[in-house]
């Protein structure tokens, strides 16, 4: 599944200062569905290069990270249970940096 990931607010520093990542994520065999929960562990393993604790806490993003799926607050689509589709755009913005 092809997705566009964007990191901002300092989170890009965890992935070699690259803000926009065009990625192809494998879905679990036999399924064509991918949830945000799956995506987060995939990002953890494949995109984040340093200080993973700045991105995740427990099985979710760190509190204070704003997540938008296709411009839409993921709290409206079920947070970790949000189902992703081909060509979705997922944005992560940290708030834990200076203002």
């Amino acid at each position: 599944m092809h997705l566009t990931l964007e990191f901002g607010g300092g989170l890009e520093l965890l992935c070699k200062s690259v803000k926009i990542h065009e990625v192809d994520v494998d879905t679990k065999s036999g399924e064509d569905k991918l949830t945000m929960k799956d995506l987060l562990s995939w990002i953890q393993a494949n995109v984040i290069k340093e200080r993973p604790e700045m991105f995740m806490k427990g099985d979710s993003v760190r509190p204070g990270v704003l997540v938008l799926v296709n411009d839409c607050d993921w709290e409206l689509s079920g947070n970790l249970d949000t189902t992703l589709e081909e060509k979705d755009v997922v944005v992560f913005i940290s708030t834990l940096h200076g203002g």
């Binding site: 607010g9 704003l66 296709n70 409206l76 940096h97 203002g99």
Partner: protein
């Protein structure tokens, strides 16, 4: 990044905005838990800030107002919202952006670029004041004189006063900063943890320093950081960056920050409730409060004869740069030294002193 095509409509969880009932909801407001669309969000977001400004009589027509601009998200959104509201509601304010250049080689280049873009985008004049102008020393020169180990004391003290001093140099009547509701909740919590009753009493005020030369106010006092970030994400293409001190992040404040964010996730109203609690604390009349006076040398508020910046500067200028770090000796030894030193030590660099 528009998500409106046919495949998106398949998403089972599409909900309509609870205000207009027409467009797709895009944001869950932490303050009210309402689900609203982007268009309605901008209307309520700006309207709430306008109400805060009006209800608290933050400005008078004709005032010259400095917007403390760091290039970060809060001050960028503040500059945008204030210039917009000033026009729309005829506040009659003479607004300008005020930035501080600490004189750390390479460090401010990016953020000053951002502020320069804001100058053009919002049509607000930009004034940059340097540490060299304000203090006679750049941060690089200070580091050279005292070494890396102690420089965060200077960072914190100098940074805290820089905007106020810069606003005075630029003949402003008022200074506004982008401190938001999350910042305020964090500061209230920190002051409780430190037992800093004087600051606890002051830190919830929307306007401080009214008896001083330049009152300071915080139009975003009740504005959630989540909504500032959401606003920012759209008109800045996410290009902001950290403005923390490059030498040392503040661990203690970091923990308080994270605690606030954890609370927010469980119950978003917690942030507003901490602010309400802070506002409604009553300090018992038997609590001994430090006297508030002004610094003999520069006129900045100080509970001592000389303010911290002047003590540090005095040391630098006399070739005794360690003066004022740790135990205060000589210059200021008179008043409640115990109290002063404890709060002095626990204020690390780059803190938001609200």
């Amino acid at each position: 990044m528009e998500g409106g095509d046919a495949t998106r409509a398949r998403r089972a969880t599409v909900r309509l905005c609870s205000i207009c009932n027409q467009r797709k909801a895009a944001l869950k407001r932490p303050k009210t838990l309402e689900q609203i669309c982007r268009e309605c969000f901008y209307v309520v977001f700006e309207d709430e800030i306008h109400r805060t400004i009006v209800d608290n009589h933050l400005f008078k027509p004709g005032e010259r107002v400095a917007i403390g601009a760091s290039g970060g998200k809060d001050s960028t959104v503040l500059a945008y919202v204030l210039s917009e509201l000033n026009r729309r509601h005829n506040y009659g304010l003479d607004l300008f952006l005020l930035s501080v250049d600490e004189g750390i080689t390479g460090y401010r280049d990016d953020s000053l670029e951002t502020v320069k873009r804001n100058e053009i985008q919002y049509g607000l004049p930009l004034k940059i004041v340097s540490y060299k102008t304000l203090y006679g020393w750049t941060m690089d020169e200070i580091v050279k004189a005292i070494g890396l180990k102690n420089n965060c004391t200077f960072c914190g003290v100098f940074r805290r006063q820089a905007l106020d001093r810069g606003a005075a140099v630029m003949k402003a009547d008022k200074l506004v900063t982008g401190h938001n509701a999350d910042d305020m909740a964090e500061t209230i919590l920190l002051n409780i943890l430190r037992g800093d009753i004087a600051r606890l009493g002051r830190c919830t005020l929307i306007t401080t320093g009214e008896d001083g030369p330049i009152p300071r106010c915080k139009p975003f006092k009740y504005t959630y950081e989540k909504e500032i970030i959401y606003t920012y994400a759209y008109f800045k293409k996410l290009d902001y960056f950290s403005t923390e001190c490059i030498y040392s992040p503040n661990a203690y404040r970091g923990f308080a920050r994270e605690f606030i964010k954890d609370l927010e996730r469980i119950r978003p109203r917690a942030i507003l409730d901490i602010i309400r609690s802070g506002e409604n604390f009553r300090i018992s009349s038997s609590t001994k409060m430090p006297e508030q006076g002004t610094c003999e040398r520069c006129g900045y508020i100080s509970s001592q004869k000389l303010c911290k910046a002047c003590v540090l500067l005095d040391g630098l200028n006399r070739g005794l740069p360690k003066q004022g770090i740790g135990r205060t000796k000589g210059l200021n030894k008179s008043k409640d030294e115990e109290n002063k030193n404890s709060s002095f030590h626990s204020k690390p660099c780059g803190t938001l002193d609200i």
